[in-house]
Structure formats: structure tokens, C-alpha cells
């Protein structure tokens, strides 16, 4: 363990050192003042590092060793589907014919890329049971907003622009209500019932002529399948609203149930979850949106189509389209990875993925239920949520349990989410983990439960083995330091 401050790249800078190699200029040189008005010529160079190539590699290697990824160890972060990121995906995305093509090239020169996207689009249509898919949104939240804008355009086209309410269960991810706001809607929150499912009575109470849509995650963020889904869809459709599927949890139902068959009108997927786009330390993602026929006219422009002669084309002639949600055509590199994954798994593989994702979660839930409270005791899907309220009575918070897990080399589960579980611990193992890994993690959780009884300080003061221990978040927020400043600059100011 390292007790020193990890150096910032700016702190190992030495004037005159370089880490780049540009071709010498082969055309006549000019002074910038000859080409640019003098007030627009930068006077003080940006304070960027001055380091050698080895300095850079050592720096980032040191940083990488202070970071935990799926390849480092188990990462059961609920709602995030931290499954193995296949290496073939990385290789394929770096093929020059995919990595080095420009989005505005003539279509005839990028037919291979368009073919891949088209095949991905149609595969996702089949997987979701939707009539058409757009690959443009950059992430889940972006897909939510895209779909809500389409719903808005749909209502407006029907002379029902007054529909301004979007219904969101209290267990929903924070992006759902946030996306509703960005799309210009007002959010109505409905409660979950005793059984962790949407309370149908509450839903009936809030729907009405002003309902634009219901946003639903199924299975919900408790990992429970909304059994009344058909009735819920009927209730919302009955008042003229649309039903939206947050597909972040698709890993739980692939080949078992399709949003399009469950009565949903549109869906977004997180290709960086179910379809193995690596999370990248927080991104990039890709958030395709699938829709039923009556929403197709409103899809964002351009729409990728296959022409009769077998060539692919970006169609801009979409008079009812909501417009453009992103420059160019989405996060292509992530779409390539997702496509490679789907082709690697095939239909049987994707079914097995879901089956093991669900079996693994149920197995862990049953191993842990004696040791932690399980507020909703029924078969879960791909994830489940424990409550640390029993431990809280002993003075140990869920946050402490999460920190103690770090000492065992695990990334902790998602904690304090969903909001309708007190001291929530949300565990999503995924299908790519072995039984040995699941058992070892459960053993650690059980040991920690015992520690909260025998030696609660050990848990309360965790972690004990990480490069830093608990960080002062209050200080970070109260006196924000969001960038490095050269020492002498600090003393001057």
C-alpha cells in the first residue's frame, strides 16, 4: 500500500520535455500574426504537461492500478449489469474499416458500416418485439429523452398537445423523471405497493386525459417482474397515453418476454449493459430506441433504410420526424461491439445469458436472506435488493458494509437505491460469474454480517486496505477544487 499522495501529471512536468512526434512542416511557414488578427493569437500557452512518453505510460499505469474494473474482480453493481466485456469486441471495433471512417463520407464508401448498423437495428427489433429501432441516442438517458420527444410529437400530431404528465414509479431510476423534465413534461410519481410492484390503484388514480406516458422498468429496479403489466398497459392506453419501457434491465428477460409483446409502445436499451459495451469508467454508452408502428413517423432523422437494390441509405425525408438528437449517427463504436456480441451469442446464447443471470441472482439471494433483511421475498429476476436495516440497528450502515466489501477485493453493490428500500443493497451478479465467485462473495457478505455483531468498529471504519480510506466529501463540496493550479498561482491569489 502506498501512503504517499499519488502525483498529478502536472507535478512531474519539466519544461522542455516532450511526449509527441509530429512530422516536420513541409510547406512554407508563417508567423501566426501574419494569418490571424493579433487579438486572436493566444498570448499565454495553455499549461499542459511537459513529460516524456515513458512518464505518461508510468503515470497512467499507476492510475490504472488504483482502479477496479470487471477484469480486476467481481463487480455486482445493481442496475448496471457489469458483465464481462468480451475482448473480440475491442478488436473488431478497432478494425480500420470501422474506426477510421468519417460520418460524412459518401454513402457508397461506407456500405459495410451501414450494413452492420442495419443488421443490428433489425436484431434489436426482434429482441424487443418492436417495429423499428433507431441507433442514434448516445446512452440510456438520451434514449429516454428521445422516446419521450417522440411521444410528445405523437400527441401533438393528434391534436393532444395538452398531455403533459409522465407517470414514473418511485422505484424508477433518476434519469426517468429527469428525462421527462428535459422533454418538457411534468413527472407524477406513483408508489410501489407492499409487494414491491406498482400499485394499480395508485396508477388508476393518477391517469387521465393529461397523461402522456407511463415510464416503466420491467423487471423493476427491485429485480421483480411487474406481473400486472398487461393490465397496467391497458389502463394507460385506455386514457390515450403511451407506455414506455426502460430497457436497462433487459438482461433479465431476453428470450423470455419482449417489451413489444407486453404492450409497450417504445423502449430504450442500454447496449453498454446487456450487450457488453464496456462501461469505460462512466461511458460511452449507446441507447437505441425501439418503437411500435404508430411512432415510426416521429423517429429522429436520419433513418437508416435498406433500399430495394440492397444498398443502405440514410433517409432524411421524414416530414414528421422529431429532428436530430445527436450529430452524425450515434455511438457507432459501441454499436459495433454490441453487434459483435449478438453475433457471438446467437439466439441460444442470448437465452442462456438471461437464464444464468436470473439463476445467479436467485442463488445469491437465497444464500444471503438469513443474514440480511429481504424486503420482497419472491423469485427475483437478474438482481435483488436487500435491506441493511437489521445492521443499522447495530450501528452499522449500508455504506459501512459497502466499504468493508472493498477489503475483500470486491466492488460493492449499488447502495441506497432504489429509494423505496431502507438502507438498500442492490446486487446484480450477471451471468458471466462462476459459482465460486458468487459463493466467495456471499461468504464475505455473511462474514460482514457477523462482524456487525462481533466487531462493528471493524465495519464502521472500513475500508482498511485501499490506497485511500474514506474521503471527505463534505469538504469536496463545500470548497470545490475542480482543477489543478500551479502552486505559485495559488499563493498569488
Amino acid at each position: 500500500m502506498n501512503n504517499e499522495n499519488q502525483t498529478l501529471i502536472f507535478e512531474i512536468t519539466k519544461p522542455g520535455r516532450i511526449g509527441y512526434n509530429l512530422e516536420p512542416l513541409d510547406v512554407p511557414n508563417f508567423d501566426l500574426e501574419e494569418l490571424i488578427p493579433s487579438n486572436l493569437v493566444r498570448q499565454e500557452a495553455a499549461e499542459l504537461p511537459e513529460v516524456s512518453e515513458l512518464d505518461i505510460m508510468r503515470h497512467y499505469t499507476a492510475l490504472s492500478r488504483r482502479n477496479h474494473g470487471v477484469d480486476s474482480g467481481f463487480y455486482p453493481l445493481g442496475s448496471c449489469t457489469m458483465k464481462y466485456n468480451p475482448k473480440i469486441n475491442e478488436t473488431v471495433a478497432r478494425f480500420s474499416g470501422f474506426a477510421n471512417i468519417h460520418p460524412l463520407q459518401d454513402e457508397s464508401t461506407v456500405q459495410g458500416a451501414m450494413e452492420l448498423l442495419y443488421d443490428l437495428q433489425t436484431s434489436l427489433q426482434e429482441i424487443t418485439g418492436m417495429d423499428e429501432v433507431t441507433l442514434q441516442p448516445a446512452a440510456g438517458a438520451h434514449g429516454e429523452w428521445t422516446a419521450l420527444m417522440m411521444i410528445r410529437a405523437f400527441h401533438e400530431a393528434n391534436g393532444e398537445g395538452h398531455r403533459n404528465k409522465v407517470i414514473v414509479p418511485d422505484s424508477a431510476h433518476g434519469t426517468n423523471p429527469a428525462s421527462a423534465t428535459v422533454a418538457g413534461f411534468e413527472t407524477i410519481t406513483i408508489k410501489s405497493g407492499e409487494d414491491g410492484l406498482v400499485d394499480l390503484e395508485d396508477l388508476r388514480r393518477v391517469v387521465g386525459p393529461d397523461t402522456a406516458a407511463l415510464m416503466l422498468t420491467n423487471p423493476n429496479t427491485l429485480g421483480l417482474f411487474e406481473e400486472n403489466i398487461i393490465e397496467m398497459a391497458n389502463i394507460v392506453h385506455g386514457v390515450g397515453g403511451k407506455v414506455y419501457y426502460d430497457g436497462a434491465n433487459l438482461n433479465a428477460v431476453m428470450s423470455k418476454a419482449r417489451p413489444g409483446d407486453m404492450g409497450f409502445d417504445c423502449v430504450h436499451l442500454n447496449l453498454h449493459k446487456t450487450f457488453t459495451g464496456p462501461h469505460g469508467g462512466g461511458g460511452p454508452g449507446s441507447g437505441p430506441v425501439g418503437v411500435k408502428a404508430d411512432l415510426i413517423p416521429f423517429l429522429p432523422k436520419p433513418v437508416l433504410v435498406k433500399k430495394e437494390d440492397g444498398t443502405y441509405h440514410f433517409d432524411y425525408n421524414r416530414p414528421q420526424s422529431i429532428g436530430r438528437v445527436k450529430p452524425y449517427y450515434g455511438n457507432f463504436g459501441i454499436n459495433v461491439r454490441a453487434y459483435t456480441y449478438i453475433r457471438t451469442m446467437g439466439p441460444d446464447g442470448l437465452k442462456a445469458v438471461t437464464e444464468y443471470a436470473v439463476l445467479n441472482a436467485n442463488y445469491m439471494m437465497r444464500r444471503l436472506e438469513e443474514h440480511y433483511d429481504l424486503p420482497y421475498n419472491r423469485h427475483c429476476k437478474h438482481e435483488f435488493v436487500l435491506s441493511g436495516r437489521r445492521q443499522k440497528k447495530l450501528g452499522v450502515r449500508t455504506l459501512d458494509i459497502a466499504k468493508r466489501l472493498l477489503d475483500f477485493g470486491y466492488h460493492p453493490p449499488t447502495v441506497y437505491f432504489p429509494l423505496n428500500v431502507e438502507e438498500g443493497i442492490m446486487i446484480e451478479p450477471t451471468e458471466t460469474e462462476s459459482k465460486e465467485t458468487l459463493d466467495a462473495f456471499c461468504d464475505a457478505m455473511i462474514q460482514i454480517a457477523q462482524e456487525t455483531i462481533d466487531n462493528s468498529a471493524l465495519v464502521q471504519e472500513a475500508p482498511h486496505t485501499t490506497v485511500v480510506n474514506r474521503l471527505d466529501e463534505t469538504r469536496a463540496a463545500r470548497t470545490p477544487v475542480l482543477r489543478y493550479k500551479k502552486q505559485e498561482q495559488v499563493t498569488v491569489s
Binding site: 499519488q6 509527441y20 512518453e53 419482449r258 464496456p278 460511452p284 445527436k326 449517427y329 429476476k381 469538504r475
Partner: protein
């Protein structure tokens, strides 16, 4: 079934089923109503072996004409630049790329510090006080900047220069529609934002003025007068800037920008058919608490060691839900890392040298076109793009050029009817004199 990504053996499965207390996995799906249960298998292509799939996809990639084996003069927001080889080595370290958002700072110090360094470098380049950890891309970053301005000023109109990237402007317009904000285009004159027109359009309903630097036509806008007019009307001045150009141009932060956004794609990020790239978002301190997305801040641990955490989270969707400053959750962290590595490799000196090479080589191209009898329209200072009257339909011309291994410039006629037969030609530091001469010669020799 056996699969290399699925480790459970039949014995594991049996033991687990026993523990769960069910006889088959199917029982775990009994809560899905019979009526909507999917029967059978997806009708998608069957699985392929690793080697066969690699071969197939390599062939598919081979159908594309790439910018590595052809000579590209296509820019319009996405550029073919020198990419230090180490970038890929760093972002291929799976401790970075297989991690998620650094929610647990004790085991995410690497990512957090890398973002802190990214925020610092972007703030340095733009001359702004602070920068966030990334946005999806330059276009959505610009749209969010517009939304911030509307929220901050409680006004409902955005003025967008006609010299802003047309696809960025489309995205701004879409976000604005969601928020019932009007978007009005400021006309251009000689390829730059028309100052007199701005004066006529701006009023007490104007939340912000949006310009691009260098603008879509490659021209370097004179920002200060535009900023002054905006501030007189108490709007926010928003600049969409190519961060590479800021290696040699006066940063927007010194010319009155309240918000500077853009895309860090020029720094070590592949063109990749338009994404993933890396939006950045930088502001003055006074707007710090209105910034969308994640921010990393410095702090100390219980033993006084320096460390980094996600901070000021009370702006974000997971805390504020429908009251959040934005809905963004996943961002472009890995691309921010890539661009940090490239910015670090270029460093203080290389950033200036590379930016300057873009200007000088573009000037060479301009002279070469003019010498060959082409009109290069717009006479202002340029960065790495110029507008050339090709005298022919540009899309048709480009079809001829690709036969010679050249990817031609963007067909401006696709967007601006008045610029039919005009190409936006990008010349970056990696284009050689020989390649530029060849482009001019091929375009000169072209006959429909």
C-alpha cells in the same frame, strides 16, 4: 449450452437450483404472464465461432473506404489527426475500460484522478474556470449549454449563429423544443456571424448567444464584440470551440465566454463514423452549480492523503430526479481519458505546434487552390478548413476523387442552397504538401 462467457457447469446449475428450491430455471420465470411469455428462439443470425466472426467482420470493415488508407480532406466537425500511439495502450488497460462511474472512490482513484486532470486541461485550453468530466459529444454539449442559459436567465430565446455546425444547431433546436425555447438564427456575412444582425435580433428575452470558434466554415470569429453585445443584453455568451485550435487562438474565456463547449475528438479519438467522441463543457465559476453531468473534486481522506471524489452531486438526476440540471448519467469517460492522454502527449509545446501546422498547411492549400484558378470564398482568418468553389457538384466530384484514393471535402450544397458546388476542405497537420498538391490537381482535372 456451453459458451466461453458462461462458466456454469451442469453440476453448478443443479446445486444452485437445489439451493433456490426450484426444479428448473423456467420456474424462475413463472411470474411472467403466460400471455406475454416469449416462446422459442429469437429469429436472429445463429452464433458464430470467434475465428469465423472475426473473419466475417474484417471483410465487412473492408467494404468501407477508410481514412487510414485513403487521403482525407473531410472535416466538418470530425477530423483525421495525428493520434499518439500510446492513447490506445492506455485506454486498453481494462482497469479503466471495464470500470463504471467511480461511485466508490476508494477503489476508483485512478479514474477520478484521470478525470480531474482532464477537467484541468480543458479549463486551461478554454481559459474557463472549470470544466466537467465530459458530455456525449460537442452537439449535445452545445444544446445543454443553451438549456443552462435559459434556466439561468429565465429567458426563452436562443440566438444561434448561422455559422454554427448545422447538425449541432439541429440538436440545439430539438432540446430547445422540449423546453419551449425559441431558436433564432443570426445571419452570416462573409462567412462569419453578422454583428449588425445580432444587434438587431438581441433583446431582453435572449437567454444566450451561440457562436462557433473557429466556425463551421473554418473562419475564426472575432468573439469579443459578440460577447459584449450579448452581455449588454444580460444574456450568456456560449462558444462552441475546437479545442485544438485553442492551442494557438486566444481562449474563449479571455474573450467573454460564459460557457465554452465542444468536442475533444481531435485529441486521440478515432473518427469512428461519428462516435463515440467526447463532448466537453466548461464554465465560469459563477455557473459552477448549474453544470450538467459529473464533476470530480479534490479532497483528503481520514489520514490526510489527497484523493478525488464525485462532487456537487446535488445537481444530478440520481439525487434531484425531475429537478436535476440535466438527465445525463453515463457520459464519455473513456474518451475523456483518451483525449487526456493525447493532450498530455502533445503537451504545452506540441499543442501549439500541431495547431499551428493546421493553420499553415491550410494556408498552403488555400494558395494552391487559388493558384490553380479556384475561388476560395470567405476572406477572413481560417483555422483548418476553407470553402472552395469547385464549379461542379461536390458529391459527384467526391465520387471521382475516391477512385484516386482521396476523400473529398464536405458538400456544403447539401445544407446551404447558396453554397451549391462549394466544398468545405479540411487540411490537418497529417496532410502532406504532396497530398494537398494532388488534391488540387485532381480537382483541377475533374470534368463531369
Amino acid at each position: 449450452m456451453k459458451h466461453r462467457y458462461l462458466p456454469m457447469t451442469e453440476q453448478d446449475k443443479q446445486e444452485m437450483l437445489d439451493r433456490v428450491g426450484v426444479a428448473t430455471i423456467d420456474e424462475l420465470f413463472a411470474d411472467i404472464p403466460e400471455k406475454v411469455r416469449f416462446q422459442g428462439n429469437y429469429n436472429i443470425k445463429p452464433a458464430k465461432s470467434e475465428a469465423a466472426l472475426m473473419k466475417e467482420l474484417l471483410q465487412l470493415a473492408g467494404k468501407n473506404k477508410d481514412t487510414a488508407s485513403n487521403v482525407s480532406f473531410l472535416g466538418a466537425g470530425v477530423y483525421n489527426h495525428y493520434k499518439p500511439v500510446i492513447v490506445d495502450h492506455v485506454i486498453s488497460r481494462s482497469e479503466f475500460y471495464t470500470a463504471y462511474t467511480p461511485y466508490q472512490p476508494e477503489i476508483s482513484q485512478g479514474e477520478l484522478q484521470a478525470i480531474f486532470e482532464f477537467q484541468t486541461m480543458i479549463a486551461e485550453l478554454t481559459g474557463m474556470d472549470i470544466a466537467n468530466s465530459s458530455m456525449y459529444d460537442g452537439g449535445t454539449a452545445l444544446a445543454e449549454a443553451g438549456m443552462l442559459a435559459a434556466g439561468h436567465t429565465r429567458r426563452k430565446k436562443l440566438l444561434v449563429s448561422g455559422a454554427v455546425h448545422p447538425e449541432y444547431k439541429d440538436v440545439v433546436t430539438m432540446y430547445a423544443y422540449g423546453q419551449s425555447i425559441d431558436v433564432v438564427t443570426i445571419p452570416t456575412k462573409d462567412g462569419v456571424t453578422d454583428v449588425e444582425a445580432l444587434k438587431g435580433l438581441i433583446d431582453e428575452q435572449t437567454a444566450g448567444v451561440i457562436v462557433q470558434y473557429p466556425n463551421f466554415f473554418g473562419q475564426i470569429e472575432n468573439l469579443q464584440p459578440l460577447a459584449d453585445i450579448t452581455h449588454e443584453a444580460k444574456g450568456l455568451f456560449i462558444v462552441s470551440a475546437n479545442p485544438l485550435a485553442l492551442g494557438v487562438l486566444t481562449p474563449p474565456g479571455k474573450l467573454g465566454a460564459d460557457i465554452t463547449v465542444g468536442d475533444a475528438q481531435p485529441f486521440g479519438i478515432s473518427e469512428a463514423f461519428g462516435g463515440p467522441h467526447c463532448g466537453y463543457f466548461a464554465v465560469t465559476t459563477k455557473l459552477m452549480r448549474k453544470v450538467p453531468g459529473r464533476l470530480v473534486g479534490e479532497t483528503v481522506d481520514q489520514d490526510g492523503r489527497r484523493g478525488y471524489v464525485l462532487t456537487l452531486q446535488a445537481r444530478e438526476q440520481h439525487i434531484r430526479r425531475d429537478k436535476a440540471t440535466s438527465n445525463i448519467c453515463s457520459n464519455q469517460a473513456l474518451l475523456a481519458l483518451a483525449s487526456s492522454v493525447a493532450m498530455t502527449a502533445l503537451g504545452k509545446q506540441g499543442m501549439q505546434e500541431m495547431a499551428k501546422q493546421n493553420i499553415v498547411k491550410t494556408r498552403y492549400a488555400k494558395n494552391a487552390f487559388e493558384a490553380a484558378g479556384f475561388e476560395v470564398v470567405y476572406k477572413g482568418a481560417h483555422f483548418n478548413e476553407i470553402v472552395v468553389n469547385t464549379k461542379h457538384n461536390v458529391t459527384q466530384l467526391n465520387k471521382a476523387l475516391i477512385e484516386k484514393g482521396i476523400i473529398g471535402g464536405f458538400d456544403l450544397g447539401r445544407v446551404y442552397p447558396e453554397l451549391e458546388n462549394h466544398a468545405l476542405i479540411a487540411v490537418t497537420e497529417i496532410r502532406t504538401k504532396e497530398e494537398i498538391d494532388a488534391l488540387v490537381a485532381e480537382m483541377g482535372a475533374y470534368n463531369e
